[in-house]
């Protein structure tokens, strides 16, 4: 598996996330600043055609993410993320779906995003509509779990309805990336 700039970012960040000191209240520790846009590339931002279900969107995303990371066989990644999808919901009220999985075979974060022009009903919660899917894989290591959670929090914090509205109106991957990057700047 290859490395790119995202991996360097991750390793640097992971060093900055020690095990919490239980003697100190959370308010004395600053949260990590997280650049979600740095995890994405144009080739991992998809605008799937209408009529696809969530499983198809996930398969396309996993494929794109693995291709970018030079991983030839994406099936274990897809299987893991679909297995996770069977558990507690990854879709939020904002219209963001955040499929994720922790993989033994990677050392950094792999991420991709799908923007759905037409909302997709969430298969587990039919009253929720998915408008953006942000998928990521993180290393299945004990000391990386904090970062995994920070990314979940950071992405769900970033993708508020206003950004999602703008993304669904974006012309393509480059414009979508620019919108995310601009909001984070």
């Amino acid at each position: 598996m290859g490395r790119d700039s995202n991996m360097a970012w991750f390793q640097k960040k992971s060093e900055a996330v020690p095990t919490p000191d239980a003697s100190k209240p959370a308010s004395t520790r600053a949260p990590n600043a997280m650049k979600v846009s740095a995890l994405l590339g144009e080739e991992t931002v998809l605008f799937p055609a209408e009529g696809q279900d969530k499983a198809a969107v996930l398969e396309a995303l996993v494929s794109a993410v693995c291709r970018r990371a030079h991983i030839s066989d994406f099936s274990p990644f897809l299987a893991k993320v679909l297995e996770r999808e069977q558990g507690i919901s990854t879709t939020l009220d904002t219209g963001l779906s955040l499929p994720h999985a922790r993989m033994d075979s990677i050392d950094g974060i792999l991420a991709g995003m799908a923007v759905l022009k037409k909302p997709l009903p969430d298969p587990k919660q039919r009253d929720l509509s998915i408008r953006v899917v942000f998928l990521f894989f993180s290393p299945n290591k004990k000391d990386a779990f904090g970062l995994h959670l920070q990314l979940l929090r950071g992405v769900s914090s970033l993708f508020q309805p206003a950004l999602i509205d703008q993304l669904t109106a974006a012309s393509g991957p480059a414009a979508a990336l620019e919108l995310v990057g601009k909001l984070e700047a």
């Binding site: 095990t19 919490p20 239980a22 209240p25 959370a26 308010s27 520790r29 600053a30 949260p31 558990g87 507690i88 919901s89 990854t90 939020l92 009220d93 904002t94 963001l96 955040l98 994720h100 779990f145 904090g146 995994h148 959670l149 920070q150 979940l152 929090r153 950071g154 992405v155 769900s156 914090s157 970033l158 508020q160």
Partner: protein
């Protein structure tokens, strides 16, 4: 919010009753046993130390303790009901005698002061004291309906004033002694036929000398009235509970000994024999007027003594209402009180019908005694001594029945044959039993009235228990506390109650899985940290809209156990129930609304720890308005995860 009180507050509540006897015990005991009264009163006040020790051991075993709980654990429900019925008699009489005595003091002051002001008008002490007593009882009825926190603040203020008065009396008394000298009271006991009761005909006290001592001692026993309240306020005591219980016991002992013991000696030594008779019902007024100094200064001192007396005696009424409410609540928890009496006040959340019942009985007693302090004094102490006897017997029996380690043990335990024989407890029980049996024969009014009252309450409790047991068997329910719910559409309303620098939210769901709550309570500093204990009711569709503010059976059961845990640790909590369609959103919204810097969960049987944290991180980010960091903790037996975001 469930709050707790300091040992100062707890001590002040108990002392309001225990120390208030100083205002009337001297006159009553002297009438009963003669000039040796101060010696026996002092002996009783010293004996309060081991009795307090008995209550420390008993209370440390059961947070919601008191004589009922301890006796029931040791000797069964029937004897527990007898003991608590007797104790109720003591509480009812405490309210009556204290408020009537306050009225007597005030009447005495008016009758002394009015002629000096050229107002030739006097009040009938008995009629005045009855009217005044009813007013005091009505006032504290209202205070107790509003809750313990408010009334314990008043108790502390009253005791502070008592401290000032004691200092003035002792200093003035020392000056008077230096001017006029002092005669120690004689050891002579002078019984009346009334004070010997059924033993008068046989002159048994003359045949058996030690019996006379026990009779005299029994008459002075009312000096310890109010001490049982220590067990009732233990539930409300803040952490560290046992340390604060011991501190409160020491405070109570020394304050009561110093005040009640000393003023009786001063009164006996300084009030001239010629005028002593006119101060039988207001002995401390007599002491004030017998000091050395100009008449106007003595009148001022009397006014001060009366003012403080009125306050502390009124405080004793408060203590008796509070203590009896505590006792009745223990009974209610065991399904012995009628269900209707457990109803909570819609605004203040207090068991107002139980308070109503006690206050009505006190008012009836005040009306029936017609302001006769000696009659009340004669009837008094029946419930007190028998609740002590039962309690001592129960703690003693529990030493044999339950050999698990105690947080604190009454001293004098002899190790033999692999068992610590409770010699100290055994001796204490024998002394209490002797006094109880002798009082039974000598205090006719107490025995007849006490037995009738005890029988009445025993029958009431037994019938209620049977009715409740049948109802519980039909519903298959265990004990549940009663809760008042305040409804709010916006969780931010909590900010009004939560003002400490740190806020922790603990999510609970399963009443049998409160390990994480207990772990948090163990280390929680209630001075600096607000703890919100949260549960959510998950509803969807119309069920979400039509929710009413009533807890269901499972929620009540859950919060009953949450409150028990908080009481055990003596830590303040704010319970919260949120109706939502998604539990993680509910937790997140609640935690963010209160500004929590830490959110704790138990280990879920359904979800993995990772899945819980992942879902929470997502909802947290989705709803977060600021960048304030938070710590998530998942705590279980042998498991603890903490993640900072």
């Amino acid at each position: 919010m469930l709050t707790f009180i300091s040992f100062w507050h707890a001590g002040a509540i108990v002392l309001c009753d225990l120390a208030s006897t100083a205002w009337y015990i001297g006159g009553i005991v002297e009438t009963a046993i003669g000039p040796a009264a101060p010696w026996f009163i002092a002996a009783v006040m010293i004996f309060a130390a081991p009795v307090l020790g008995l209550y420390v051991e008993g209370s440390s075993m059961f947070v919601r303790g008191g004589v009922y709980k301890v006796v029931r654990e040791a000797m069964g429900s029937r004897l527990a009901k007898v003991s608590v019925s007797a104790l109720m008699f003591d509480y009812v009489l405490t309210g009556a005698i204290s408020s009537v005595s306050a009225g007597q003091y005030l009447a005495g002051l008016l009758n002394s002061a009015l002629p000096r002001l050229h107002i030739h008008w006097s009040v009938d002490p008995k009629l005045f004291s009855v009217v005044f007593a009813l007013a005091v009882v009505a006032y504290f009825w209202r205070q107790n309906i509003r809750g313990i926190e408010e009334s314990s603040d008043k108790a502390v203020k009253i005791m502070s004033l008592v401290g000032v008065m004691a200092a003035v009396i002792f200093a003035w008394g020392a000056y008077t002694i230096s001017v006029r000298g002092f005669h120690w009271p004689s050891f002579e006991t002078r019984f009346t036929p009334e004070s010997l009761g059924w033993l008068a005909s046989g002159q048994w006290h003359k045949r058996i000398g030690v019996l006379g001592l026990v009779i005299a001692y029994g008459h002075a026993f009312l000096g310890m009235s109010g001490l049982e309240t220590l067990a009732q306020v233990y539930r409300e005591m803040e952490a560290p509970k046992l340390v604060n219980l011991k501190r409160a016991a020491l405070l109570i002992f020394f304050a009561a000994l110093l005040l009640t013991g000393s003023v009786c000696f001063l009164a006996e030594g300084l009030i001239p024999a010629a005028v002593r008779g006119q101060y039988t019902d207001n002995l401390l007024s007599g002491l004030a007027m017998s000091m050395a100094g100009p008449h106007w200064a003595l009148l001022c001192l009397q006014a001060f003594v009366v003012l403080v007396g009125v306050l502390i005696l009124s405080g004793a009424v408060n203590t008796s209402i509070m203590g009896s409410n505590g006792v009745l609540n223990r009974l209610a928890e065991d399904g012995i009180m009628p269900e209707a009496l457990r109803h909570l006040h819609p605004r203040f959340g207090t068991t107002h019908r139980m308070i109503d019942l006690v206050v009505i009985l006190q008012a009836l007693t005040i009306l029936l005694c017609r302001g006769d302090i000696y009659l009340l004094g004669e009837a008094y102490a029946f419930g007190l001594i028998w609740s002590f006897v039962f309690n001592a017997a129960a703690v003693l029996v529990l030493r044999f029945k339950d050999r698990s380690p105690r947080l604190w043990r009454f001293p004098l335990n002899l190790r033999a044959g692999g068992f610590d024989w409770p010699i100290g407890l055994g001796l204490l029980f024998l002394v209490l039993l002797s006094v109880g049996l002798v009082n039974f024969a000598t205090k006719k009014v107490a025995t007849v009235a006490g037995l009738a009252f005890t029988a009445f309450f025993f029958v009431l409790f037994t019938i209620s228990e049977r009715i409740n047991r049948r109802a519980a068997a039909r519903a298959g329910e265990a004990h549940q506390d009663k809760f008042n719910l305040r409804q709010a559409d916006d969780l931010k309303i909590l900010r009004e109650e939560i003002d400490k620098p740190n806020r922790v939210l603990v999510a609970v769901r399963d009443p049998n899985n409160l390990y994480h709550l207990n772990k948090i309570l163990e280390t929680l500093d209630s001075e600096t940290t607000d703890l919100v204990v949260f549960t959510s009711r998950i509803r969807t569709g119309l069920g979400l809209v039509d929710e009413t503010v009533e807890m269901d059976h499972e929620e009540t059961n859950l919060f009953t156990k949450v409150l028990a845990a908080a009481e055990k640790h003596g830590k303040t909590i704010t319970p919260m129930l949120v109706v939502s369609n998604e539990p993680f959103y509910a937790i997140t919204q609640a935690a963010q609304a209160v500004g929590a810097s830490e959110v704790a969960f138990g280990v879920s049987a359904k979800l993995s720890t990772d899945a819980q944290l992942e879902r929470l991180a997502m909802t947290w980010g989705s709803l977060q308005q600021d960048k304030k960091p938070v710590r998530f903790r998942i705590i279980g037996p042998h498991v603890e995860h903490a993640v900072d975001l």
